[in-house]
């Protein structure tokens, strides 16, 4: 990076406010100001999004719908309409890409932006926030920081309609006494484990030396945690995120114990997955399955073919074959099928095929 050392990075993070619910409110203005929960209505459903009116009652994303209904009985349940959300997402992300050159979209409603080259990143972000509202009627929260970690925390800090600029030091002052779980990438398992070791806060974590962390969590995760709790993160904003795998899974309302039913379900998922990949013009060589039993035992199996799977029946048969081999000993709660080693159907690295017809 020359004699001036590492250039100062400036990263933005954009997050749509209550995205699914907001899209629903645009279509159904009569719901405005009411507690709305977007979820499928079934015994095992979880909340995908809730309006801030519902959040006041303690309703949150990924909460079982039954719990949410208990906390907020007056909430109106709206089934998700993924096509509508995708369309709205394309609108928002289109504007983001129009305003910022380096964008990494991480989900339908979330994106990182590398603002390092901008002269006035803050005003650019203000302009972006206003333009998105004007053109899509959707509110977004924006965070700006020296890296992705701080930017994401910042966008979340003042939601909804947030706009927050933080340095690493600001982040430290705000969150030193929070749980390490807020530092993206540290899951509940690690958080619990840290707590058991008497490390319940970011401040406490920062006092554990790197060698000890490496002892606890291995040579990769240890040093990573050490930097993480200092709000240090050098992950780049990666403009294209090549999806390397794609999957479909279902949790059943009632556990499936019949092998035939399980297979039929897996076949249905396989065909759905294949169709989705076909639309994207991609295909994969690795087929994987995921099975969760009644007691939450979760197993995955996979098989890699020498060439991409080009037939939905082959995909389904491979998935079912692995399910048969595993032969679930308990009723099945969840089934999933996954394809990995994805590649474009007709791009570099594709093995061309003789157009044989077999009767």
């Amino acid at each position: 990076m020359g004699s001036e050392g590492t250039p100062v990075r400036c990263i933005g993070h954009l997050d749509c406010d209550a995205f699914f619910a907001s899209v629903e409110l645009l279509r159904r203005p009569e719901l405005r100001g009411k507690a709305v929960i977007v979820a499928h209505d079934g015994p095992r459903s979880v909340v995908t999004t809730a309006t801030y009116e519902a959040r006041k009652f303690g309703v949150g994303s990924a909460m079982p719908l039954a719990t949410a209904k208990n906390r907020c009985p007056q909430a109106i349940i709206v089934p998700p309409d993924l096509d509508a959300y995708r369309e709205a997402s394309a609108g928002v992300m289109g504007i983001v890409r129009d305003e910022v050159e380096i964008v990494e979209q991480v989900s339908v409603d979330e994106a990182y932006m590398d603002l390092s080259a901008m002269a006035m990143p803050k005003s650019a972000m203000r302009r972006l926030q206003a333009r998105i509202l004007r053109e899509t009627e959707l509110h977004v929260s924006l965070g700006i920081g020296p890296n992705k970690l701080v930017a994401k925390l910042a966008s979340d800090a003042e939601k909804p309609r947030g706009f927050c600029v933080l340095s690493r030091k600001d982040a430290w002052l705000r969150w030193a006494d929070a749980s390490p779980g807020i530092l993206g990438g540290i899951g509940p398992k690690t958080t619990d484990d840290l707590a058991r070791r008497g490390v319940a806060t970011i401040r406490a974590l920062s006092k554990v030396d790197e060698a000890t962390l490496s002892d606890w969590y291995g040579p990769r995760t240890g040093p990573w945690l050490w930097r993480r709790c200092r709000f240090d993160d050098d992950a780049p904003v990666e403009p294209v995120r090549e999806p390397v795998s794609e999957s479909r899974e279902t949790t059943f309302s009632v556990d499936l114990s019949d092998a035939e039913e399980q297979e039929a379900e897996l076949r249905r998922l396989s065909i759905k997955l294949f169709e989705a990949l076909e639309k994207q013009g991609r295909r994969g060589r690795t087929v994987g399955i995921k099975v969760r039993l009644r007691d939450f035992t979760t197993v995955t199996r996979s098989r890699t073919f020498p060439v991409p799977v080009v037939d939905e029946e082959v995909l389904a048969d491979a998935a079912i074959g692995m399910l048969r081999e595993y032969a679930p000993a308990l009723p099945v709660r969840l089934l999933g099928v996954r394809m990995a080693s994805l590649e474009l159907e007709d791009g570099p690295g594709v093995q061309l095929v003789l157009p044989l017809s077999t009767g």
């Binding site: 060439v307 690295g349 594709v350 093995q351 061309l352 003789l354 077999t358």
Partner: protein, 369 residues
């Protein structure tokens, strides 16, 4: 049942039989080898319902009888037998077979004999005799091009056609295709055509030299094909359907034709392939007078090697699966291979420079650029 035999003979046969016997089927008896000792001699049998194998075993029958024993286990025991002779004796009381080899004694529980299906009998009629050596040599030229998995059963077959004095075999997994026509020394009496599973053909490749038979008899039934090699009988269910029409897929003309030393190209390809891992393609870049073979694998490294070739015209590069290219070069019999190519996305053809009735068509992999 009680019989004595040479451990070496038994071992050789059990190796073939245990490739056919299958432990993956619902009927556990099919993981076994059936041993039938009669006044006429001893016969060993195995089947997975698709393929059946019956082999005559030299030996002395002391007491006739039939048993089914686990094929894999009997093979392992025979392999480690301490003496040259093995004795098998059914102990009716104990429902097991005593296997004695030297001072070692094994008692093996038998599998349910009544669950072992009858195997097809070679019916004397409708058989065609073919030179065993020619049959096996022809098989060796094409069998590697057959599909390794059963997702499209016809592609896991070798098309075998015999008529007049020509024996033709074809196999393709849709990424490459091999065709070999062998002219027989004497015309056949009769003809046949069948889609034979590649693994049956591979079993024949092993049976023929082991049996020392000079000819084999092919008999095609309604849905079976039977190969009789000496006193061994290999039967296979025929695969339904018609073998793909492949002739029209072989281009008649190519833009580039060049002769290259087979051994040199084979060595270069083999070396550079070391760096074509994880399904990476091997790149063959042709330019005036030169061929550069190269490969790269992400996070592993690159390799390149040049060799002089009589190439003229506009430079181009074509990618191939290294394994497919090696298979093709390995089946070329001759100092020089004739490489026929048109463009990076058109099939390439490998042939011998003299007419041996052999061709190897190979589909490219798209390269970056």
């Amino acid at each position: 049942m009680k019989l004595h035999t040479a451990a070496q003979d038994l071992l050789g046969h059990l190796q073939s039989l245990s490739r056919i016997a299958s432990g993956r089927l619902a009927n556990p008896t099919l993981s076994g080898v059936q041993i039938a000792a009669t006044g006429d001699g001893i016969e060993l049998r195995a089947t997975d319902l698709q393929v059946g194998l019956r082999i005559k075993l030299e030996g002395d029958v002391e007491r006739p009888g039939t048993v089914v024993l686990p094929a894999r286990l009997l093979l392992d025991i025979t392999r480690q037998a301490p003496g040259p002779r093995v004795t098998l004796e059914l102990r009716t009381e104990e429902q097991d077979v005593e296997v004695t080899a030297g001072s070692a004694v094994f008692h093996l529980r038998t599998l349910r004999g009544e669950d072992f299906p009858p195997l097809p009998e070679p019916s004397g009629a409708a058989g065609v005799d073919v030179s065993a050596a020619a049959f096996v040599a022809t098989t060796a030229k094409v069998v590697r091009s057959a599909a390794k998995d059963d997702t499209r059963p016809l592609l896991a077959c070798v098309l075998v056609r015999a008529e007049g004095e020509v024996l033709t075999m074809v196999a393709t997994d849709s990424y490459r295709l091999s065709e070999k026509k062998t002219t027989l020394e004497s015309p056949l009496e009769g003809s046949f055509e069948a889609n034979v599973p590649a693994r049956v053909m591979q079993e024949l490749e092993r049976l023929v030299p082991a049996s020392g038979a000079e000819s084999l008899t092919v008999a095609r039934g309604e849905n079976q094909v039977l190969f009789t090699v000496g006193e061994h009988v290999l039967s296979s269910r025929l695969v339904d359907g018609t073998f793909p029409q492949y002739r029209s897929l072989i281009p008649e003309t190519f833009d580039h034709e060049l002769r290259v030393s087979t051994s040199e190209l084979r060595e270069v390809v083999s070396r550079v392939s070391l760096l074509a891992q994880k399904a990476a393609a091997l790149s063959l870049a042709f330019s005036e007078g030169e061929l550069v073979v190269s490969a790269q694998t992400q996070d592993v490294g690159e390799a390149r090697e040049a060799l002089p070739v009589p190439f003229h015209g506009e430079a181009f590069a074509i990618g191939f699966n290294p394994e497919y290219l090696r298979d093709g070069l390995d089946t070329i019999d001759g100092d020089e291979v004739l490489l026929r190519l048109t463009s990076p996305i058109r099939p390439g053809l490998l042939q011998t420079t003299d007419d041996q009735g052999f061709l190897y068509l190979i589909m490219p992999i798209r390269l970056n650029s």
